[in-house]
Homo-oligomer: 236 residues x 2
DNA sequence: CGTCAGCTTGATTACTTTCAATTGTTGTGG
DNA sequence: CCACAACAATTGAAAGTAATCAAGCTGACG
């Protein structure tokens, strides 16, 4: 399932300006291109597992990934998502710790695999990159803390509304501009909102009944975005 | 409430080896010593407020600080603690954002105040420091994600047990080796565990009845640490 | 000695989970 | 293409958990 990367240096497809790796000099880019592998992961494939030793940096080329941790009684909690242009595993590599979460492909995904030592050497050589990493970490931390409050204090309806909005900001809409561009099972939405499958189903159908969303097969269509936001009971 | 710092360069008291700022060269240390102020904050004083523009780095010299965010309906959620040797506000300074939380002194505290531009200049000049910051951020993020799972999936009894353990790791014990070295109101413990004051009281007295803790005035004494851990229902 | 904040207890209410049962969907091998 | 197995979605009813509301209590302090 691996082939050499034929792309131009450093995943040109991976959102050129987005990716944190952009801004490297040519030597480093070539080093990465030379050393990396491309992996194709099918839906449901595990990219890395919580607790395993971290040997690689993953650069998402295409696809959707969920990051989850195991909680009480083995219940899954989705902590965040990654998509094209995002990098995974950098935190574990930087702090020399095992992967802190499990990464699972939500659909067929192309992911470049960059060996630990290559990444580490480049971070050491690139002061600018380390500043980018700091910004990235700050952002992740900020949203983790916000997520904490959401889960801690909100009702299920509020959390599910919040989860839908997170899906929108993470993956956007289809061409119609109102259908969320991702397929998740009810159970996965539950793992994101921190509730049960049954309650998720009931709440979604309630939101649908209230004209805020519309459930069309596997798709969730946002019919009243303003009201959805109001439902999260957040005042930023 | 401010006086010039008379201490040796860079808060020698602030846990010499602990503080992230250690390892700087003498020039930078002197720059900081010269530019910083010392502040004394009384119990309940606010050091900085969520949403305000970040102008300073705070280096805790002595005392205990709680970091909290406002949630739904203005309910407070404690996100973490800081104590002697910890630094506050660095994330906002690095990412040029407002303070993401409110810092409140839990008891009389001495805190050095280092202006933004001094900190920024030093970070720019010190590659090693930026790596330290990355590690710090990684650690914070890790615990934030763990906290998320705890709050999302655990019962109140488990969360309160968890909260007590966090107090122990944050502040330690008194000399007797079993009394938690911090005074918090029931309502603050509730804000930490993400529940209400009444439920906190009931749960604490239940834990006390079960012989796991003992409530002695304002103090909480851990009488059965093993059982307290078992109560968190965590398996690391 | 009164007051106020923090602490406690009880009763009621509301929200979610859990359990159980059914239906719908999808992918696979014959 | 059908039948079957496995997974996903749905619905109802019962049980549990924690929040809310209301009312005393307690102790520190001016």
């Amino acid at each position: 399932m691996k082939k050499n990367c034929t792309e131009s240096p450093i995943c040109s497809k991976c959102g050129n300006t987005q990716s944190i790796i952009c801004g490297l000099n040519d030597t480093d880019k070539n080093e990465i291109s030379y050393r990396k592998d491309d992996g194709i992961y099918k839906k449901g494939d595990i990219i890395f597992k919580e607790g395993n030793n971290a040997h690689n940096l993953f650069c998402v080329h295409k696809g959707k990934i969920k990051l989850s941790k195991l909680g009480k009684d083995g219940k899954e909690q989705i902590v965040r998502f990654a998509k094209s242009g995002d990098i995974l595993g950098y935190r574990s590599l930087l702090s020399n710790e095992p992967y802190h979460a499990t990464a699972t492909a939500m659909e067929e995904s192309e992911i470049c695999v960059i060996p630990k030592e290559v990444f580490q050497k480049i971070v050491e050589d690139n002061y600018k990159l380390s500043l980018n990493l700091i910004q990235l970490l700050s952002k992740d931390l900020k949203s983790a803390e916000q997520h904490l409050i959401d889960v801690a204090q909100k009702t299920v309806r509020e959390r599910i509304s919040e989860a839908l909005l997170l899906l929108i900001t993470s993956f956007g809409y289809l061409a119609d501009g109102k259908t969320i561009n991702v397929h998740m099972t009810r159970s996965e939405i539950a793992d994101l909102a921190g509730t049960t499958t049954e309650t998720t189903i009931r709440t979604l159908s309630q939101l649908s009944h209230d004209g805020i969303i519309s459930l069309e097969g596997k798709n969730i269509v946002i019919t009243n975005h303003t009201e959805l936001i109001r439902n999260t009971n957040t005042y930023d």
